[in-house]
């Protein structure tokens, strides 16, 4: 089988003096997109960064390659525009693009040999890679990453962007600055720039998606409802850190029969009591796992999970914000910060 053009960037000179020095083989802990190829790139100053090259090969194997190619390119360009917006708005907790460009791979036709790419700041890994199962969890590390992720979402929401695919593999770790940033806007939606993918039933990873999406249930057609999905994803990270599974997986585990999500819309409100029951059972188990690690912080953490992962999207979020600003993350940012500090103090004792 011929080597895909996106796999042939090693050693090539790219935009702004960047050069691809290492192809990143996907690891077992990555759940990133299979429509891109990763590289480590280095510039003339010796600074290293991460390059994401758009890989057309799967699109070309599809039944309708032209259509798939168009979709892929549109999404890539959309992500690039979003990244520019994030950089221009100084979103400090979003992994933004340093540069982007395209290159014709030598020896390939100008039709299929053009590879588009984006250069990002290089992280030390993502949470999914670095996380070593809940048994070895560092509570401070988790709470700090939750705080940073909440800030990232708030930054996006403030500028009318919903991430829609926040999950452990999309939270990157920058060890030098002891910082976490949210990456991968490939599934995001921008209120200002409607995109046809905005209407996708489940934009991100299904195992992290709130259950109302499976039923295609919407509390409203307002764009803001997508922020509620981000809130659920944020709460789901807590499930992942302390219990190794996502909130959605935990709920499905607790229901010994599968939901019939083909009953769209109304089916969700009919099944909501069951989903809620399963959710609470899951939270009860989570509480034990959180208590083992977070001890006196448990109640507050569990309270946050309950509010963020509330199965009823109309009741998601902080009760005091429900009327005026239901998708506000500010209280959670404060809470995670305070909790992380408490955990740090305890650790230093």
């Amino acid at each position: 089988m011929a080597i895909r053009p996106a796999m042939k960037l090693l050693g090539l000179d790219l935009v702004d003096g960047w050069k691809a020095i290492k192809l990143i083989e996907p690891k077992s802990t990555d759940t990133g997109s299979c429509f891109s190829v990763g590289y480590i790139v280095r510039n003339n100053d010796g600074k290293e960064a991460f390059l994401k090259a758009l890989d057309y090969s799967r699109a070309l194997q599809s039944d309708d390659p032209a259509k798939e190619l168009q979709k892929l390119t549109e999404r890539f360009n959309f992500e690039r525009t979003l990244l520019d917006k994030c950089r221009n708005k100084h979103m400090s907790k979003i992994v933004t693009a340093i540069a982007h460009g395209k290159i014709t791979v030598p020896g390939e036709s100008s039709e299929h040999g053009v590879v588009q790419y984006i250069v990002f700041e290089k992280a030390d890994g993502n949470i999914r890679q670095l996380y070593n199962l809940s048994k070895n969890i560092d509570t401070t590390w988790c709470l700090r990453s939750l705080h940073n992720s909440a800030v990232a979402l708030q930054q996006l929401h403030t500028h009318g962007i919903a991430h829609q695919d926040l999950k452990p593999s999309n939270v990157l770790v920058f060890a030098k600055d002891q910082e976490f940033k949210v990456a991968d806007l490939g599934r995001a939606s921008d209120k200002a720039v409607p995109f046809h993918y905005d209407e996708m039933q489940i934009a991100g990873d299904p195992s992290y998606a709130p259950i109302e999406l499976e039923y295609n249930f919407r509390i409203s057609d307002e764009f803001q409802r997508k922020y509620g999905i981000d809130m659920y994803h944020l709460g789901s990270l807590i499930f992942f850190y302390f219990s190794d599974v996502s909130a959605t997986e935990a709920i499905k585990t607790k229901l010994t029969k599968s939901l019939n999500t083909s009953k769209e819309g109304k089916g969700f409100t009919e099944d909501l009591p069951y989903i809620r029951y399963a959710f609470i059972e899951a939270v009860n188990d989570l509480r034990k796992d959180v208590f083992d690690k977070a001890e006196d912080l448990t109640d507050e953490i569990i309270n946050i999970v309950q509010e963020l992962c509330e199965p009823d999207p109309s009741k998601r979020g902080h009760p005091l914000d429900r009327v005026n600003n239901p998708y506000s993350l500010e209280r959670y940012i404060t809470s995670f910060d305070r909790l992380a500090e408490k955990a740090e103090v305890r650790l230093s004792k």
């Binding site: 996907p26 690891k27 077992s28 802990t29 990555d30 759940t31 997109s33 299979c34 999914r128 996380y131 199962l133 809940s134 048994k135 489940i202 991100g204 990873d205 299904p206 195992s207 998606a209 499930f239 302390f242 219990s243 190794d244 599974v245 996502s246 959605t248 997986e249 935990a250 499905k252 585990t253 607790k254 229901l255 010994t256 029969k257 599968s258 939901l259 019939n260 999500t261 083909s262 009953k263 409100t269 009919e270 099944d271 909501l272 009591p273 069951y274 809620r276 029951y277 609470i280 899951a282 939270v283 009860n284 188990d285 989570l286 034990k288 796992d289 569990i302 309950q306 009823d312 009741k315």
Partner: protein, 492 residues
Amino acid sequence: MNINDYEARQIIPRWYPFEMALYLGEVLPNSKPVNYRNKFTSYLEKEIDWMRNIKTLSSALDFVGTALVVNDFNNDNAVKASEFILDNEKKISSLAIQLAKRYVNEEKKISNFSLSDDNNCRNNIVRIKAALKMYPYNSIAWADMAYYYAVLGQNAKSDKCMFIAVNYSPDNRYILRSAARLYLHLHDPEKALYYLRKSENTRYDPWLLSSEISISEAFDIKTKNIKTAKYFLTKVDDLPSKDLAELFGTIATLEAKSGANNKAKKLFKNALIDPNENTVAQAFWMSPQIGLHVDLSNKAEASFEADGRYYFSIGNYKDALESTIKWLKFQPFCSHPVISASYISGVCLNDYNRSIQIIKDYGNHFIEKDFFVKNNYIFSLASLGRISEAEKLLDSINIGSLQNNEKATLLATEGLIKYRKNLIDEGRKLYEDAIENFKILKDEKRTVLASYFLSREEKRIGNDNILLSEKISKSAKRLGLNELIPKSNIKE
């Protein structure tokens, strides 16, 4: 299975804690979930990732979790990943272990459910109360708490909890059926029907439709839903048989009641394709009338009542008692199985001690609420010669509150006590009065039963009347009271 057996049994909805209802397939649709495997590239990537790379717990969990979410069951790779997770269960959380078990379908078996004893109920109430404090919107938890209070006989508290549950989720099948069953338990069929009829879902959900019709029929309340149900059953080829079983059974019972036995038989055959235990019990109960053969070997899970009925019908009272005790534990808030179990033990097996123990263990809170439980208790005490205890209980009965058949039954029980106190004439007179009253009430079964016990007491004091015994035996046979036949010819 006892002298008070249903005159017109209906498929009244059962009531269980949520997890058991879920397990028995009465909560969520029984259709096969749609497999969304090919809808999500990210899932396929996770599968490839698990297959190609070094097998880590993290990738196994990610893969199996998503397989569960997208309903990709029976995927060999995911099964292997689940086994890998379970082999390493010491390294992961309890939720992660449960996830793998859930995927490989290591579901609970009915025998794993702790059937409700009082301690278990109290523990569950404490657990649910704590959970509700944290999260009060959980209507299922409110309904579960109502269930445990009902088992403990604390009906007012049960009512209060169910009120909250049904107001949080007025259209939910599990809540509505549970509420309906509770209100019947509280002798308020109108309230049961009120909530069922208030929900629009009752017109579309066969489980609710069946509940509405069966409760209306059982209490002679007019229902407008029979036509809807009949029409519904002709239009629902795409619904799983399990979801239609109760409705087919309920309409079959109606047809049988109006004498259309062939129609009833045909409908029951549909009901029995994939029935729940309540439908099996109903079919078995109806089978002599309509000439239906019910194959109990292929029956539904937890068919304790049907098993009890079967063993009782063939005169295997020992197994009938064991099955009835299981039924009793399965529906512990219901007095009917307590009456049946104490009847089988006392009348069929002459084991009065066991009869007393059954009532003490499982029906203690019914003694003051259900006349027949108390009567069976007094009867067993008196039959053992524990007269003072029997009299004490007898004195506590408020005769004014009794129905006519209960008053006549009480006369017979008083007669037994007099016999055991050697007040023969008074005892005989009371039995004769009881028999007379039953005759006036045209209650043939109780007439024969009272005659049988009068004859038993006469035999005890040496007045064996063979002709009378034969007459009783003949009547018992005609009425299907087989439990009275062999003993009526045996000298005690």
